[in-house]
Point group: C2
Chain length 370, copies 2
């Protein structure tokens, strides 16, 4: 059963509006998923996320496995209950984290042995156990274990990792027991079009609920990134959601929507927020800097978030300068709102067949950095 419906496809463009049905309600696409790696979207409460219009958030099986442990969350009645977030959750398998964070990992066709980056304890994960973990978490959209390589990667190893990713995807699909969880396939293949094609076609044949493009934003040059994305999307079916993992900045999201991507996640809104950098309609603004000492305007004069309706740049600068936690909160909240609002505008522009005009106007204002 296909839980995704394309509502509207833009005239003369690949971008489209969709609805993805999950056990906890439907998600309007294109969408952005704020990242709650450890079961908390950093600094924000679930209420603030709801008020900002987040329709789905992302969490991470690898991090939750290490801390607090899956057993705790299972006993809490699942991740939604544990963190008090009652809209859809997508959990990443943690494949990417095993390859970027874990110590002393050893990979085989069977699975992967690694040491926790927190306490050095040894763990063994297989495609099947990763599905079981996400079953215990009770997330709405789940991801299979995959092998993500970094840039640059020789073709021989990229091919090994890609074939292993296909094999693990097949085992993951066979391991899914809950009918109401959506399982996506992840396309790997590094920067090689023939490998990407082979991977995409094999996954499409297995018929997943959606398809993710993995291995993007792993250190490759920008032009290569867009090429990889374009040719990968070309091998994905029209009638399934497409998720570009870990991307990205507003300009990256807009570019990818134009390729026909439906789903995004990225840590930048909260990471930049904690550093005092705000995303605004006229570019990024580092509010801790001294030019804002007596600047009583909101972060973004066009923004309707709680931060912009109530606080000035001068106050936010003071909070950062005085190490007040409220500063981290308010800029993170604004940034998450900014990304979610960007997606609302993207959807509206697609609906009106005006995405190219929207893109042009948005980027013209946004690139005129303060």
């Amino acid at each position: 059963m296909n839980r995704f419906r394309v509502i509207y496809t833009h005239k003369d463009s690949a971008c489209r509006l969709g609805k993805l049905q999950t056990a906890r309600g439907s998600i309007d696409t294109p969408c952005f998923m704020p990242v709650g790696t450890q079961g908390s979207v950093k600094t924000l409460s679930p209420r603030e996320l709801e008020e900002s219009g987040a329709g789905v958030i992302l969490s991470n099986a690898y991090h939750l496995l290490l801390r607090p442990g899956i057993e705790v969350i299972k006993k809490a009645g699942g991740l939604h209950n544990f963190m008090s977030w009652h809209r859809p959750i997508l959990t990443d398998s943690g494949g990417y984290q095993i390859f970027s964070l874990a110590l002393l990992r050893k990979i085989s066709d069977e699975g992967v042995v690694f040491q926790s980056h927190i306490d050095g304890l040894r763990h063994f994960l297989t495609p099947e156990s990763v599905i079981q973990i996400q079953d215990d978490l009770g997330s709405d959209i789940i991801m299979p274990l995959d092998e993500c390589v970094h840039y640059p990667c020789g073709k021989d190893y990229a091919e090994v990792a890609m074939r292993r990713t296909i094999d693990w995807a097949r085992r993951s699909k066979a391991a899914v027991s809950r009918n109401q969880q959506l399982l996506f396939g992840i396309v790997q293949g590094a920067t090689y079009e023939d490998l990407r094609k082979e991977c995409a076609q094999a996954l499409v044949e297995m018929d997943f609920d959606g398809f993710a493009v993995g291995g993007i934003s792993v250190g490759e040059p920008e032009n290569l990134r867009y090429n990889m994305l374009h040719f990968t999307v070309g091998y994905l079916p029209q009638d399934k959601p497409r998720y570009l993992m870990g991307v990205g900045l507003p300009e990256d999201i807009i570019e990818a929507v134009e390729c026909g991507i439906d789903m995004f996640d990225c840590v930048v809104p909260t990471r930049y927020g904690r550093n005092g950098t705000a995303f605004t309609s006229i570019g990024k603004l580092t509010v801790r800097n001294s030019p804002y000492i007596e600047d009583f305007r909101p972060l973004d004069e066009r923004c309707g978030c709680y931060t912009c309706k109530n606080f000035s740049r001068a106050y936010l600068r003071h909070l950062f300068n005085a190490s007040e936690i409220l500063g981290l909160r308010l800029v993170s909240w604004h940034n998450v709102y900014f990304f979610l609002d960007l997606m609302r505008k993207v959807r509206e522009a697609i609906k009106q067949d005006k995405f190219p005009e929207f893109k042009k106007e948005f980027l013209a204002a946004y690139n005129n950095s303060l």
Copy 2:
């Protein structure tokens, strides 16, 4: 004009209900003022404070003078606008901070020279300049510069400091220009009843809008503290509000309400909250501790705050364990709610002439620590 009205005095007891009228609305007493030293009640938003029922908050002229500077706040239209808090604010003069935080202070009858504890810059404050600062801040209740001594303090010096405090109170009163700001007098005199009496009588004669008991909780033993409080309150008029500065824990507040104190402030709800210790109806609970790993109850089963309605001890413990800022927020918020709720219960008990019963029941449950 007296802006305070005693609404009801408890049968056979000194505790009473009151209403204190300020330019930004009236305050029900006995009340607790959450502390926003640097223009932010640590980790909390103004909206969360309002929802918790905070009727008035405290901020600090000394801290705001050093950071961000009074000029910035004046240009923002005052402290209320700057921090987006539109209910009453009481500002402390910073006398206490000059004597506890500042470097190389030198006090004379004229005023006090000190170096900022942040950047070492030299400042000179007089009673008049401290009133001017609070006029610029636009706070609703303001405090004069005083000299607060620590325990133990020889009687000779305690007398010098007390007389200076009286002299500075007189100069402060003469310096007040805004009629809508309420100025309180601060009773000093260390642990000496005759000095406390002399100070109280001199201040009462000058006729302030309210009277604060200063120099309490400065290192003295507990039994001495209650004695000092009792005999000081004995020299204060019935028809003016009485404010016990910097106090305290729930048990201290209850004791002081019984002496006839109307106003309190203390950093403990947010300071303990940031350390993961919650105040609950059955005592303090350090949620970061391991017994709570799989404890899915709220912090306090009798509490109606956002934290208790949505999150378990297990989740809060996880947040602290994983260094997630949401943990600090949620426990701080709960604690502030707990203190404000305690005051609501105190007022209700006074209204019903049942304060002794309330005190007994509250302390019986509270002291049965988890």
